[in-house]
Structures are given as C-alpha cells and as structure tokens.
C-alpha cells in the first residue's frame, strides 16, 4: 500500500516533468499536435495518479505518510532531504492542481491555436504542474521553497510569454521582484526554523514543538527582542504575502494578466497564488503557537479582501476585474487560516479554484470570440451568441457571490461564520470587512456579467467572421469546471469540515482553544438545512443586494454609474489609482534604486575609490617619479658629479663611522 502510494506519487510528479522536458526541447520538431498530446497526457496521468492517491489515503485512513526520495545534502548535524509527505491535505491540493491544470491544458489547445510559441507554452505549463506538485507534496521546508520559487519562475516565464510586448515583460519583472520580496521573508523564516528546531523536515519540526520553549526570543536589532516563534511565523507569512498577493505585496497580480488567459486561470487564480494559504495550513502546528502572528495574518487578509474587491468595481478590463476578485478571495482564505480555521481556508481554496478558473476560462472564451478585445465597455449582449460561455460564466459568478447551492456559498458562508466565532484579536473587525466584502463581490461580479452578456452590443460586427462560440476544446473545460462549481460545496462540506474525525485528520493541527470549527459543528443542522438556513443570514442578503445593485446600475439604469462616479469623484480617483501603491513603489523602489545605484557607482566606486584612492596612489607615485626625473638629465657630467658626491659620502661615513 505504501509502495503503491510511492509509485503513484513518483508518476504524478514525473509525468508532467517529462512532458515539459520533451515538449520544451523537441517541441519544434514534434509539431503542434504531438506536442499537445504529450503535454495533455502528462498532466492527465498526474490527475489520475492524484485521484488514486486520494483513494488510497482515504481508504486506508492515512494521516501522515513520510516518503523520502533522496538525500539532497548532509552537513554535520543536518540532513537535507527531498521527499514527499502524503496526507489528506496534500492529496486534496494534488487533485485541485492536476484537475485545473488538466482542464487548462485542454483549453490551451484551442486558445493558443495559432501561436508560434505553442510547444513552448505547453512545456511551461507542464513544468508549472510539476513545480506545483513538488510544492504541495514536499515533506520539508527546503523542497517547499524549491516548489515555491519554481512556480514563481514559471509564472515569470508565462507572464512574459509574449515577450515582444513591453507591458508583458514589464509585468513579469515586476511579478518576479515583488515575489522575491516575499521569498526573502520566507527564506529567513526557514532559517529561523533551522535555528529554533535544528531541522527542516516537517514532521521532525512538529515533533519538537511539544518540548519547545515558547518564551525564546530573537534579537532583531539592537535591544529589540521578539518572541522567536512569532518572528518565524511572520517571516514565513511574508512569503505567503508575496505568493498569495496580499497587501502590500499584491501589486504584481493584476499586472500578471498580461500573460495568456489559460495561465491566468491556472497560475494566477486557481493554484500558485493559493500556495500561501496552503503553506500556512501545512504549517498549522507552528502558526498555532503565535497569536500575534495570526492576528497579523487576519488583519492583512481582511484588508486585502475588502480593499481589493472595491478596486474590482472600477476596472474595465475583464481579466483585471477577475484578478482583483482573486486578490479579494485570497484575502478571505488568508483570514480563515489566520483564525485557525485552516480546514475552512483549504475548503474555500478548493471551491475557489474551480469557479475562479471557470470564470477566467470563460473570460478567455469571450476574448477569443471578440478577437482579443478585453474591455468590458466594448462587450455586451453576448449571451445570445455564446450560450455555453454565458451559462458557465453565470454559474461561476453565482458561486463566487456565494449564492446557495453553488460551491462558493458553502465555503464563504462557513468561513464568515467561523470568523464570527473567533476570539482572536482583530477577528471581529475582519468579520465586518468580510461581510462588506460579500456585497462588493456580488457587485463587481454581476457588473461583469451584465456588461459582458446583457445590454447593447457594443462590439464591432464582422460580417466575414460571425460571432460564435469557440471550439469544443474551449467549451468542454468550461462545462467540466462548471460541474464542481455547482456540486463540490454541497457534496464535501460535511465530510471535510464538520464530521468528527474529519477529512484532514492530523494533517492540520488546531489547539482546542482556537477550535472555532468545533463550535460550529456542535450546532450544525446538516447540509440540507444549512443551505435552506442561508435565506436568513447576512451574507446571503448582502450578496443579493450586490447583485441587485449591479442590475440597477448596469441593466436598468445604465446612466447611473457615471452619475455616481461624478458625485464620488474622490473615492473613484482613489480606486482607479488602486490606492497609489504602484505609483509609490515606482517612485520609491524603482526610481530610488536606480538613483542609488547610479550614485554608488559613479560617486563611490568611480570617484572615491578609483580616482581618489587608486588614482591617489598612482598620482603620488607619479609625483615621486616626476621629482626623480629631474635627476635623470642625461648629462654625463652631472651623473659623474653625483657619483663622486656619493663616493665622498660613503668614504666619510666609513672614516668617521
């Protein structure tokens, strides 16, 4: 049984890697059809393996199965290993990653149809699948960091996939650098773990927690000493802030929409950006120890959830609306893991992966049909032309808004309820932010739906190419993603979150003092009644209000938005400028670094060191030489005179000395 698990894990990571290498190196010789067949089979195999692994784990009640692969390096008292840790948490992430990736692979066949970089694209997304699997399957911090950085690099490569576009290669630089700020924190966090626990293996670290001295401190600078676990947790979470795009490291995600739409769905909505949430859940035994760190997490998450949703309302690019929605939803997940409801965070991560990937792919379908038009102001009335896209997008939108019985309802409702129950400092503020966020979410989501599918047709009719639904390779993934977007919440909420000895078992640790899910489970009426009960809850009516507002503003009275904007021009300016983060970073970090760099180079290196020190030595050398040169006159009589003088001097020294 363990051997089977081992085998399927290896195949799961191996097949996308192999597919990536083959299509990457030989793609131009294989041709397009063979390239995508290899890549799609690679990820399909991985998906099948993930399902089998999930079955083995559930059937055999496996909670934490360690599977070392090879020893990366050994030093005196530390062994760095590469290996897998198999448990329900990992298996869940594997299924989400490989399923969405599989859908995106198929979709790509249609979306990237005529692109000259076809094989290269497949190579990248297969490499991404491999890296993401390495991240979620890791049994140690080092491999987690490998996966963490590798998905970042593939994201960098894919955002800049169309490398002729200036905006794309600007966006990918930005994404890489901002992520690296997070990674700096993450790496320091890992160093803190090494210092505190002397190991980087998850289970070894978790085992040492029981005997760990919680009063230990770390000196940050001078006399500033901070609780060691808090430092470690916050440093690790800074990594999550980069990858999961939390304020103030969120600025890269909207720009990452420069990449092709399939990767926006896969990387920048469903999987990579949720790595931060996964990481906190995976390291739950550590985060449980620091209330300060968790309060910090909750505040950051709540701030992101509300403020980024608001920006989503004023965006006109269809992909950017969804991108801001992703930021906001990531904020929800971060709040959930912050209040120790790790399982809820993972649950929302899962439902979100399906319906957000669906929304992105539906947006991609529209963009294809409109010949790369992404501006909502140039859409409208599309529901008559693209029924499948319309229906599936609507399902995604309803799920996103949290309307029962769609998947998002279960995850979001229980998430907000969990926050409500939490006693963590900051949680009550977060509760109101998340409630307000529900209204905002419904508003921007249905603004998108109404602007794209309803109203006047504001796009250019081309008689030679009548508007039509794209090929089946595009619509099939939409349908296949729509199914879980409807049923996954209803089907899995109870076994995943509420049953005693639930799905996650030991893979998530919650101290009993923080166990909000226990309180909820105590009076959980059963999934059916829970669904019905929705009609008397605040989130439901806030969502309905949001949808109704969107209806009024974008269908019924389309002149309203302009009027509202005119009356609230201050607020609108703030939102359009996205609170000025970009401008600030541009000015301080980009321009500032360039200026500082130039100053260091020209003033210190060239002027002080080269001209001052080195040149000074050379000059004094030259000055000596110039003095001595006066002696080298070339006149024999002078030389003779000098020799005689010297001889006299020597003799006198010898005589008197």
């Amino acid at each position: 049984m363990t051997q089977a698990l081992y085998l399927f894990s290896l195949i799961a990571v191996g097949s996308p890697l192999l597919a990536s290498i083959v299509t990457g190196l030989y793609g131009h010789r294989l041709g397009t059809t063979l390239s995508h067949r290899i890549a799609v089979s690679g990820v399909a195999i991985a998906f099948v393996c993930a399902v089998i692994i999930m079955k083995i784990i559930v059937d055999n009640n496996i909670s934490m199965q360690e599977m070392p692969l090879y020893t990366w390096a050994v030093s005196s008292n530390i062994v760095f290993e590469v290996g897998f840790l198999m448990d329900p948490l990992t298996a869940l992430m594997m299924i989400v990653v490989t399923f969405v990736s599989f859908m995106v692979h198929v979709y790509t066949i249609g979306y990237m149809h005529d692109d000259p970089g076809y094989a290269r694209f497949f190579s990248y997304i297969s490499l991404f699948t491999f890296s993401m699997l390495m991240l979620v399957m890791a049994n140690n911090f080092l491999q987690l960091f490998f996966g963490w950085e590798a998905v970042g690099v593939v994201s960098y490569l894919l955002i800049g996939f169309w490398f002729k576009r200036d905006t794309a290669i600007f966006a990918n630089m930005k994404a890489f650098l901002v992520n690296r700020v997070g990674d700096l924190g993450f790496l320091l966090g890992i160093a803190a773990i090494y210092m505190l626990f002397g190991s980087l293996n998850y289970l070894e670290v978790f085992a040492k927690i029981a005997t760990f001295n919680l009063d230990l401190t770390i000196t940050l600078w001078g006399d500033v000493k901070v609780n060691a676990i808090t430092v470690a947790c916050i440093l690790l979470f800074i990594g999550a802030m980069g990858k999961s795009a939390q304020i103030p490291l969120h600025v890269w995600l909207p720009d990452s929409m420069e990449g092709p739409t399939p990767i926006s769905a896969l990387i920048h909505a469903a999987t990579m950006v949720t790595a931060g949430v996964f990481m906190v859940a995976r390291l739950s035994p550590l985060f449980e120890l620091s209330e300060v760190a968790r309060s910090f997490i909750v505040c950051i998450g709540a701030l992101t959830a509300l403020s980024m949703g608001l920006v989503g309302i004023v965006q006109n690019d269809i992909k950017r609306v969804i991108a801001y929605s992703t930021l906001s939803q990531l904020g929800y997940m971060i709040v959930a893991v912050g209040i120790s409801a790790y399982a809820v965070g993972m649950f929302h991560l899962m439902t979100h992966a399906f319906f957000k990937a669906l929304l992105f792919l539906a947006a991609g379908s529209i963009i294809m049909a409109l010949h790369h038009q992404q501006d909502l102001r140039h859409m409208g009335g599309l529901r008559r032309y693209m029924p499948i896209t319309y229906i599936t997008a609507l399902i995604g939108a309803l799920a996103l808004c949290g309307i029962p019985p769609f998947a998002g309802f279960y995850s979001k409702d229980i998430l907000i309820e969990a926050v409500h129950f939490s006693a963590l400092p900051g949680a009550n503020l977060a509760y109101y932010a998340l409630l307000a966020g529900v209204f905002v979410t419904a508003l921007y989501t249905f603004r998108l739906i109404f602007l794209a599918f309803f109203g006047k047709e504001r796009w250019h009719h081309d008689k030679d190419h009548p508007m039509h639904e794209p090929d089946w390779v595009v619509t099939l993934p939409l349908i296949l993603l729509a199914i879980p977007s409807v049923i996954i919440g209803f089907a899995t909420i109870s076994p995943m979150l509420l049953e005693a000895d639930g799905f996650f078992k030991q893979s998530i640790t919650v101290l009993s003092a923080h166990d909000v899910m226990g309180k909820i489970a105590a009076h959980y009426p059963g999934t059916f009644w829970f669904t019905l009960h929705a009609v008397v809850t605040k989130p439901f009516w806030l969502a309905i209000a949001g949808i109704f507002t969107a209806y009024l503003c974008y269908v019924r009275y389309p002149q309203w938005p302009a009027k509202i904007a005119a009356n609230l021009s201050g607020l609108q300016k703030v939102l359009i400028h996205k609170y000025g983060f970009d401008e600030f970073y541009q000015l301080v970090f980009m321009k500032g670094t360039q200026k500082l760099s130039l100053w260091c180079w020209q003033e210190v290196d060239v002027n002080v060191i080269d001209k001052g020190m080195v040149g000074g030595v050379a000059k004094s050398w030259e000055a000596c030489a110039r003095l001595l040169r006066h002696l080298q006159t070339g006149y024999l009589n002078q030389y003779a005179f000098a020799m005689i003088l010297g001889l006299v001097g020597l003799i006198s020294f010898w005589l008197w000395g």
């Binding site: 050994v74 950085e149 790496l187 890992i190």
Partner: protein, 497 residues
C-alpha cells in the same frame, strides 16, 4: 610505484602549453593539440577525484621532493577537500576555454592556447602546493599569463586594465611574501601545515592576517579593493574573463581557508565583524552598483563580486559561530556554503561570460543599449541564457541556490540583521540579472544588427550544455560536492577552536 598524479596534473599542461609556442604558425595543429592536453588534464583530475577518499581530513596524493635542502624547502604537493573541487573546476573550465578558441580567437592562436594551458597548470599548482615557497612561486607564476591575456588579446583600453590589475595584485603578493617569510622564520619550515599552531600572539597574528588579507581580498575581490575586476573583465577576451571569474577569484577565498583561518585564528576573531561587514557591503552595495551597469561584462563582473561576498561571509561567520554559540556544526555548514558558492559561481560566471562572448563575437559590442529582442532571432541562446541568469539569481534547483542557502541559514544563527542583509541578494540579483536579460533578449528586434544575428552553433551549444549540466547537477544533488569538502572543513575548524 606511486604515480605522481598531482605533478602530472600540474606539469602536463605547463610543458604541453609551452611546447605550443613552437607551433605558432600552425594553428590547425595547435588547436587539437591544446584540446588534447586540456582533456588529459581533465582526465587526470577525474582520476584523482575517483581515488580521493572524502572521509580523510588530511592531505592526500602527497608528493615530497627536496628542492632547496639548505633552507628546508620542499617540492611538496597534496590535496584535500577544499583543493580538489577547485582543481576539478579549473580543469573543466580550461578545456571549455580551449575548445571555444576554435571560433573565438583568430589572432596568435597557438600562443593564446599555450598561455591558457600553462596558466591552468600554475593554478593547479597553487591549489596543490603544501609548501609555502612552492605556493608562492605558483601564485606569482599564474598572474603572468593573465597579464598577457588581457594585454595582448584584450580590448581597446587593455593597457590601463592590465596595469591596474598588476598594481593591485602585485601589492597584495608582496605583503603576502613578507608574511610567509616571517612564518617560515618562526616555524623553521616552509610546510604550510607547520605554520598552524605556532602559538603566535594576537598582535603578531593581526599583522600576518593583514598581510594575507592584502593578497586574498584583492583576488576575491572584496570591497573596497574590487575596482580592478570590472576593468579587467571588460578588456579581457572571453576566455580570459571565464578563467578570471571562474577560477582566479576563487584563489582568494582558498587562501583565506588555507592560510588566514588556521594560521591567524585570533586575528580572524579580532577582524571577524569587519570582514562580515565587508562581505555584506559586497552583497548589498555591489549588488546595487550592478543594477545600473551599461556594459554586459561590467554587470557580470559586479555580480561576481556580490556573489563572492557570500563566500567570504560564509568563511568569516565561523568566528562568531564558534565564539558565541560554540556551534561547530553550523560553522561547518557556513564554510561548506562558501565552498559550494565558489564552485557554483565558477560554473555560472563561466556560463554568463560565454554568453556575453557569443553576443560580442556577433555584434562586436557589449553595450546593453545596443541589444534588444535578441530572443526573436536566437531562441536556443535565449533558453540557455535564461537558465544561467536564473542560476545567477539563485533559483533553487540550480547550483546558485545551495551556497546562498547554507550561508543564510548560518548567518541567521549569528544575527538576524546579517541574515537579512545577506538575503537582500534575493531582490538585488534578479534586479540586475533579469533586468539585463529583459533589455537584451526580450522585446522587439531593435536594429539591423540584431535582426541579422544567427543562433548558437553546435560548438557553442555543446559548451552551454556542459555548463548547464553542472549547474543543474549541483543544484539538484549537491551531496557529492558537500561530502567532498566535509571532512576537511570539519578538521580545519577544529584547529581554529
């Protein structure tokens, strides 16, 4: 009979190289002959590697012949875990440079190859010498070929660069000679191992440390004696840059490990904070300077200095780790990190300078502003360059990550701020490396010259594949390299304690 492997390793390239001077008008014979010599040296180094026992901490493959009996000076050779990786690196890089001369060098080919082969022999001598006088002879001897390479095959401003290089290194060498002579007089022997445990006072050690520092810090180079390196690189031909960055810089760090740490531990303790500070300056300040460089080679030169900052940081973290924390195992990890960083940077900088060479041979410019959109016309080159750039950025899975990881893990144990400042490389290295990559490779084709570029030839591809192989191998499985150094470093550090 014992086969003198190390002597063969040193003298075959030196003698083979000097015999090339007789083939000066026959480049068509000189090239394959040089490749043969370089391949034989590589083979010899691999034989040594195969027979090397990494569990032994003392010198292996020892050879000892009387050289100047009156003064107890011997021709004594031997290698341990810190010499062997650098010797392997030297032999690999030399072979690649010699092969690359097929298309890179058309002027005075035989002399060029002769000088490179001799230099590789001398450098192996530096790493293998266990006698201080012999070490000094090789040390001085290896500098001459480098002067010649820059002075003869260099660019327009080569004389200035050569003189700067010469003045810096010469000053350091003289001071080191003084220190060696003093140690020789005290120890009554020229064996380097006899210099350890002399019971010198801290005051004496400080003077000796400073003398060694003058020699080694210039070589690495450390701030503020680094300004010769960018100039030397800019003027040097591709092969010269490769050897300079991949191997010559490592000799400084090797010197710290072989001489400064065991001979002057008290002074090392005294100066540790300063050395750590200078290393951090190298990482942060030099990283910043690299951002705005306009010349590809200067940019990579500054990047080299910043990366070598990690090596010196790892080496000098040993003192606070041993003094305050009594943490031997982390101290070992720090020095192992420094060693891995040396080898890794050898491959990465070689690869990056080869990449610049590829562009320079086609466009005859190294100015970043003259490029743009190269990826459109040279896709295979763009792929390799991306891999090497990412390695330079320290991506896990490439060799560039391993050393930085070990050093940062160790630094955090000493002080949070040291680790934080060192980790700034995570942001700075992509800022200069990937921004450079973006301006050169990405975008639309900017001019006619770029439009007419041809992708890499099979020879260039071969060199890139070899370098990429090593970079990935060390990144994915650094265990063999770490194991090779482990016993030696552990032994070395017990001598400091």
């Amino acid at each position: 009979m014992m086969i003198p492997w190390l002597s063969l390793l040193i003298w075959i390239p030196i003698l083979g190289g000097s015999s090339l001077f007789f083939l000066r008008d026959k480049p068509e014979i000189a090239r394959p002959f040089a490749v043969l010599i370089a391949a034989i040296s590589l083979l010899l180094s691999l034989i040594v590697y195969a027979h090397f026992d990494s569990s032994i901490s003392t010198m292996q493959f020892q050879e000892k012949l009387t050289w100047i009996p009156q003064f107890k000076i011997y021709y004594a050779l031997g290698i341990d875990g810190i010499a062997l990786p650098l010797i392997l690196l030297t032999c690999i890089c030399t072979l690649l440079v010699v092969i690359a001369s097929y298309w890179a060098i058309q002027k005075n080919v035989a002399s060029y190859l002769a000088i490179f082969l001799m230099m590789s022999g001398f450098i192996c001598g530096v790493f293998a010498a266990t006698d201080a006088v012999l070490f000094y002879v090789f040390w001085e001897a290896m500098l001459i070929p480098m002067f010649l390479i820059i002075g003869i095959w260099g660019g327009a401003n080569r004389i200035y660069a050569t003189i700067k290089f010469f003045l810096y290194t010469f000053l350091g060498s003289i001071l080191m000679l003084v220190a060696l002579v003093y140690l020789y007089l005290v120890a009554g022997s020229a064996q380097i191992s006899d210099f350890y445990n002399l019971g010198l006072t801290q005051n004496t050690q400080i003077w000796i440390f400073l003398a060694f520092f003058a020699a080694f810090a210039v070589k690495i180079p450390m701030f503020p004696v680094h300004t010769w390196l960018p100039d030397a690189h800019v003027e040097a031909p591709t092969g010269g840059s490769v050897i300079l960055a991949a191997i010559m810089l490592k000799i400084g760090a090797y010197g710290f490990l072989r001489f400064s740490l065991p001979i002057t531990p008290l002074a090392g303790q005294f100066f540790a904070d300063l050395m750590i500070g200078l290393s951090l300056v190298a990482v942060v300040y030099i990283g910043l300077v690299a951002v705005m460089q306009k010349d590809l080679k200067k940019l990579i030169a500054y990047s080299s200095i910043a990366h070598m900052g990690f090596a010196t940081l790892g080496i000098f973290l040993v003192f606070p780790l041993l003094e305050h924390a009594q943490d031997m195992s982390t101290a070992v990890l720090a020095v192992e990190g420094a060693m891995v960083q040396l080898v890794s940077h050898g491959f990465i900088s070689a690869a990056l300078f080869f990449c610049v060479g590829v562009l320079y041979e086609r466009m005859h410019t190294r100015n970043i502003a003259d490029f743009g959109g190269v990826a459109n016309v040279m896709p295979a080159f763009a792929g390799f360059f991306m891999l090497f750039s990412l390695a330079n950025v320290g991506l896990p899975g490439t060799s560039g990550f391993v050393g930085e990881l070990f050093v940062i893990l160790s630094a955090f144990k000493v002080h949070f701020m040291i680790a934080l400042l060192a980790s700034l490389t995570l942001i700075l290295s992509p800022a200069y490396t990937l921004w450079m990559y973006k301006r050169v490779l990405f975008g639309t084709v900017v001019n006619k010259q770029v439009e007419q570029l041809t992708d890499i030839t099979s020879g260039e591809r071969g060199i890139f594949i070899v370098l990429a192989g090593f970079i990935l191998l060390i990144g994915i499985w650094p265990a063999p390299l770490v194991d090779m150094t482990h016993a030696t470093i552990s032994h070395l550090l017990t001598q400091i304690q």
